[in-house]
Symmetry: C2
Subunit: 730 residues, 2 copies
């Protein structure tokens, strides 16, 4: 530790000298910006400048407020230090843009105040053992975020400082902070994890600003500088070849900012690295993938996701601006337009100018298969879309890997969006971010007992236990296998298989988005084949959003006392409203309404199977859970089983016009047949249109297949297809 400090001190003299002589490239560009500012400022950029001026005015009125760290997330000191780094960053940018000295002075005074307390700080009083402690914040991650913004603000004003102030801030604040975040927090710094990305970005950018090669090197290549950890390695290990971040969209969004911001700094200071071309342009690909993982601008809430996260977030303002400045992709402009925001950089100015020039084009949301894992062999996320991303359909098959500590035990789960709403839902994280009343804004106990458990998701639960029996380490070792993906218009199909989530039981699920004649909206078909030995209880939950309109079968309702479904693995949080034993597919359905549209889930009840209508919220004395509805199919079987169902959107409720149409299901019947190794699902509409979803499970896409269902022979080629048989009366 002491050794490295000496080394740093030695190296720095040379570099600061250099830095003092010639302004860095980003400072050069800032001069250009300042001059061009008066001449042309597009509305979006002008609005950002105005927003920042207002914010800085408030902060400057309040004066320099740098309290001794005390509170956890959401608490006063936590929020004040967040405000401060935002002010340091924006104040620096405003100085670059306007040349107004007051901004440089305020940023200087705030940094001097930090330089005064920083050396005195030890571990944070509100630290949790589960998280590395920060100095300014309860977890080291927030310290890294503080540094990423603060160093950029400092860079913008550093040359305007007196030698004394500069040395003071260099030595007592940023060098010490860089030391703390690197060698001082070696475990976090050396992770392959977004916490480490923030740390390496902060340390690396500090290296460039202070002119300390050592800091840049350990940031890029890890503390040992052997490239086994550090920023470059993270960019290789954390994103799949398709730019999917293994923790899921919410964390992908979060991880993206340090990647793109630090990459921008690398590009400025070390263009020879061609960082944006590194690994086939993975960083820009990751940015586009992040945008593709949204519906109506909101991220698919995989794993420990906070559900109200949308593209309207600081990370994506930066990401879109940097990506656009590199690619000039007009689709990104329409994202910026939807965000209604950009950043105070040259890239942000470019976005604003080109938006004002009318260069925006719709972002091409589309069906896609996103492989997971460094080599793309750790499962995948299949996104099947129809129509736009605001009112159209999106069926998401979560066939990805566990995704480390924030992962949920939900292999082969799915979600469905339609008409602007999440219809088949994923709970996301049990957490109220930064709300102190809720366990200091940290993850709630129910995140473990409900949010992560398999029964809280739309996938198979065997014998009442979660996948991998809830063991995250075991779960990280095994990923699903994506067997098939087709985005053929009108018959989009994804099939994946999971082996090892349960001893002796594997399951293969086909999810399809099909267009049927006689239906106004696409139909979701779901065929899950379970292979297992011995007797098991198989539960298949469907978590949906809406108000029940009609239930096709007789219910045994718990109207006067509401029991709980189980005692652990999430079952303890489920209130049982009613149970039933639907006998045939024409009766095994539930219809609900969401907004102005009706939805019917219809399934083929297996012999002796049970249907459970339930609501979350049991064993929740602190009211930490949202209360949401679910339907659970329960089958007790010797050996395997097959769950076959369809989800149908139909009709319209128009409250203003007091007109309702097609409020009941438009499907007449569904039938399932196993013919050899083949699964066949026959769907017939009320208008008599018949079609078959045929699955051969044969990955030879050129091989021809045929099979019989209900006396009809169907032919198709390859793994799976949707065959229309006609017969409609319309």
């Amino acid at each position: 530790m002491r050794g490295s400090l000496l080394l740093i001190t030695f190296l720095c003299t040379a570099y600061t000298a250099a830095a003092a002589e010639t302004p860095t490239s980003s400072q050069v560009s800032s001069v250009v910006a300042a001059n061009s500012l008066k001449t042309d400022m597009a509305p979006l950029f002008a609005q950002e400048v105005e927003r920042s001026r207002k914010f800085l005015a408030l902060m400057m009125d309040a004066g320099v407020v740098v309290p001794v760290p005390k509170d956890p997330g959401g608490g006063y000191t936590h929020e004040q230090h967040k405000q401060n780094y935002t002010a340091i960053y924006q104040g620096g940018q405003l100085y670059k843009l306007t040349g107004e000295q007051k901004y440089a002075d305020y940023v200087r005074d705030v940094l001097l105040a930090y330089a005064e307390i920083y050396p005195t700080l030890g571990e944070h009083p509100a630290r949790k053992d589960s998280q590395g402690s920060g100095r300014l914040f309860w977890q080291v991650l927030n310290d890294a975020m503080w540094m990423v913004d603060s160093i950029q603000g400092y860079e913008a004003i550093r040359d305007s400082l007196s030698e004394v102030d500069r040395k003071n801030i260099d030595d007592n604040l940023f060098r010490k902070a860089a030391e703390f975040l690197s060698t001082g927090s070696a475990v976090t710094f050396s992770k392959i994890h977004n916490h480490a990305t923030w740390a390496t970005a902060g340390v690396g950018m500090t290296g460039y600003v202070l002119g300390e090669k050592e800091l840049v090197d350990i940031a890029l290549l890890g503390l040992d500088k052997n490239g086994e950890t550090g920023f470059l390695r993270q960019s290789e290990l954390l994103f799949s070849p398709d730019g999917y971040y293994t923790e899921g969209p919410y964390y992908q969004r979060f991880a993206l900012k340090p990647f793109v911001v630090f990459a921008g700094a690398i590009e400025n200071n070390d263009p020879a690295r061609k960082i944006f071309e590194h690994r086939d342009g993975i960083l820009l690909k990751a940015l586009r993938t992040t945008i593709q993982l949204t519906y109506d601008g909101y991220f698919f809430p995989f794993n420990d996701a906070i559900r109200d996260k949308s593209l309207k977030t600081d990370e994506l303002y930066h990401g879109v601006a940097v990506a656009y400045s590199k690619t000039r992709d007009p689709g990104l402009l329409s994202i910026a337009q939807w965000q209604g925001r950009t950043v105070l950089t040259d890239a942000g100015k470019l976005v604003a100018n080109d938006l004002a020039a009318g260069k925006a084009k719709p972002f091409p949301f589309q069906s896609m298969l996103l492989s997971d894992g460094r080599e793309g062999d750790q499962g995948a996320v299949a996104v099947l879309r129809n129509g736009d991303s605001t009112s159209g359909q999106a069926l998401i098959a979560k066939n990805s890997s566990q995704g480390m500590g924030h992962g949920h035990f939900d292999k082969l789960s799915w979600q469905y969006y339609d008409n602007g709403h999440e219809i088949v839902s994923d709970y996301g994280a049990a957490r109220f971010l930064n709300i102190e009343a809720k366990h200091g804004g940290r993850y709630l106990p129910e995140n473990e007992t409900w949010g992560k458990q398999t029964i809280a998701h739309n996938t198979l639960v065997v014998d009442g236990k979660s996948h991998f029996d809830g063991d995250a380490e075991a779960a990280d070792k095994l990923a699903p296998e994506q067997l098939h993906f087709s985005d053929k218009a009108g018959s989009q199909i994804s099939t994946a298989k999971m082996t090892g989530a349960y001893p002796g039981v594997d399951f293969t699920r086909t999810l399809a988005l099909l267009e049927l004649d006689g239906l106004n909206h696409p139909l979701v078909a779901d065929v899950m084949r379970v292979n297992g030995q011995g007797s098991h209880q198989y539960d298949m939950p469907l978590h949906y959003n809406g108000h029940i309109m009609r239930v096709g079968f007789d219910l045994k309702s718990n109207v006067e006392s509401r029991p709980v479904l189980g005692s652990d693995n999430g079952y303890q949080h489920i209130w049982v409203d009613a149970t039933a034993n639907p006998e045939s597919a024409d009766k095994a359905f539930v219809t609900w309404i969401n907004d102005d549209r009706f939805y019917t889930s219809r399934w083929i009840p297996q012999a002796g199977s049970e249907a459970i209508l339930a609501e979350s919220g049991a064993n929740d004395p602190e009211f930490n859970l949202r209360r949401e509805q679910m339907i659970v199919q329960r089958v007790k079987a010797a050996g395997g089983s097959v769950f076959a169902s369809v989800l149908e959107a139909h009709g319209r409720y128009d409250g203003a016009a007091e007109r309702t149409t097609d409020s009941d299901s438009q499907i007449k019947s569904i039938q399932h047949t196993r013919d050899g190794d083949v699964d066949l699902l026959l769907i017939e509409t009320l208008t008599g249109e018949k079609s078959v979803l045929a699955i051969s499970y044969d990955q030879d896409e050129t091989k021809k297949h045929n099979a019989m269902i209900n006396g009809t022979k169907v032919n198709w080629t390859g793994f799976a297809d949707h065959i229309r048989l006609g017969g409609g009366s319309q």
Copy 2:
């Protein structure tokens, strides 16, 4: 019956002759319209014409479809006949506007089809005994609505018809329909009720079009033509002097269309009546009052209201257009702008033109007291507003009378809106309008067992029974007394008293919207004084929307089995999540979040009182109820009691910026004192600001009062006031 038919037949010859000679005034104006159409058509009007052209194109493609009546609300024949009268109306207007023959021909053919089946129709197969049966629809009301639109469409094309067709439609359709709706449905026709308003409007307009004075006379003056029933009497009895309709905003909206449309016809055909000046311009006043009874455009859901009703409804498109044509009030233009719609009449064209000319001004939503009852002596609705009607605050004290059969047993109940949301809520009707799966779209059984019951509202329940023990007839005989109303900025106060809802128990409630130094949002104060003899159980429910963040007191939670609170009067629908015995006002609070704002309800727990945290949805095997949360204060007392509480909005949750502020209550304490006849509520904020809500209950507004609370003497004048004592540390 036969006699009146003969009379009609006799009279009509003379009148049709007259009608045939000279076009009616409204036909004259239509010619003007047609000519001016090409020259100028403002966007809003052009869009309506286009909308109608598209609708008529669809209807004309489908051809003339007039099925034999069969289905209840929401069913096929029900919806088809609704489509038809819309097509008849709009087709007629399009013919007037464009002169295009195809529209006249289509309307003619549809009407001829009706003329063929109408004489053959008896009682509707789907009628309910509780409602008068229609011919075309399951209830006579819908037949009247059919007639109001159809006769206007017919008027527009009548002169273009052959003698034969005209006589056929006159005699076999409209004369017979007019006879059915008047003498044939004498009970409905003679009611003082909105059903009768529709009937009289349809019959009266038919009288003008067919030139049959008899029909006009019985419509205006009732079947006996003595003015004790009929349209004029309805306009006198159904609206209070402040233009409040006793059934509540939802039905006021609904009743308004026949009033304004028929009034327009009266004005055209019989201007000497000065109908719009009748009773001090009550009809236009009622229109303005209807608009005042909204938040963010949605009606306060009093009584049997469907909650998704907003100003975006056909009745209000007509109402706003007619009212604007009479008053030229620019505030009405901004309502039309919000509606984004208007009607195909000259009034609609005027609205569109003046909107395009930029004449719109914001509609003046404001605090107001709206008396109920013909003489304005049947209680009142007090609306206390702050800020605009979209994001500001609205506190509504429902101190009005029962409002007939659709009334709820909720005397002195209240609602609160803030930040664009309903925070303290009213359930409205238990009904899914026109959704056949839900009891044919009619009122659900739960409308009686929950929607109307007192415990489902935010007011006092004595001994577990609803007001008037749920007897609507008894309830209609007694109304609350509005004792005080002040809209003084920063201290708006309403006080009302209810006597007779319970034997031996009366209650007086003061609701206030107060601005306190040190708080960012107004505070709601609520002091309910209960006078009673003997031992009673007093329940005070608070129905709120949001997710619980913090509970100030210890809970006995029902986490593993959820009991029901009671067995009848609505209590059978309440699941009990937890019970508690909060001991002091600093602990007796619940904080929840709604959207991005926090709310804390804080009360002064009476000795031995209980707090019950609960959710609706028990004994609801058909899932007919929305599941909503409530807090019930329960006091068992010998004699009277006082419920004193405040509702506070505070802080902000910003998910995008991950910033949370003031998520906990900003109130330090509240204290209540009874000094003589005076009630005092002392409120102290965390910043130390103190203020007192003082209520003398003395209606002499000039009289000076003083009283002591907590060692402090406060002075005020009149019934009640809010006195700021200062002391803030900020």
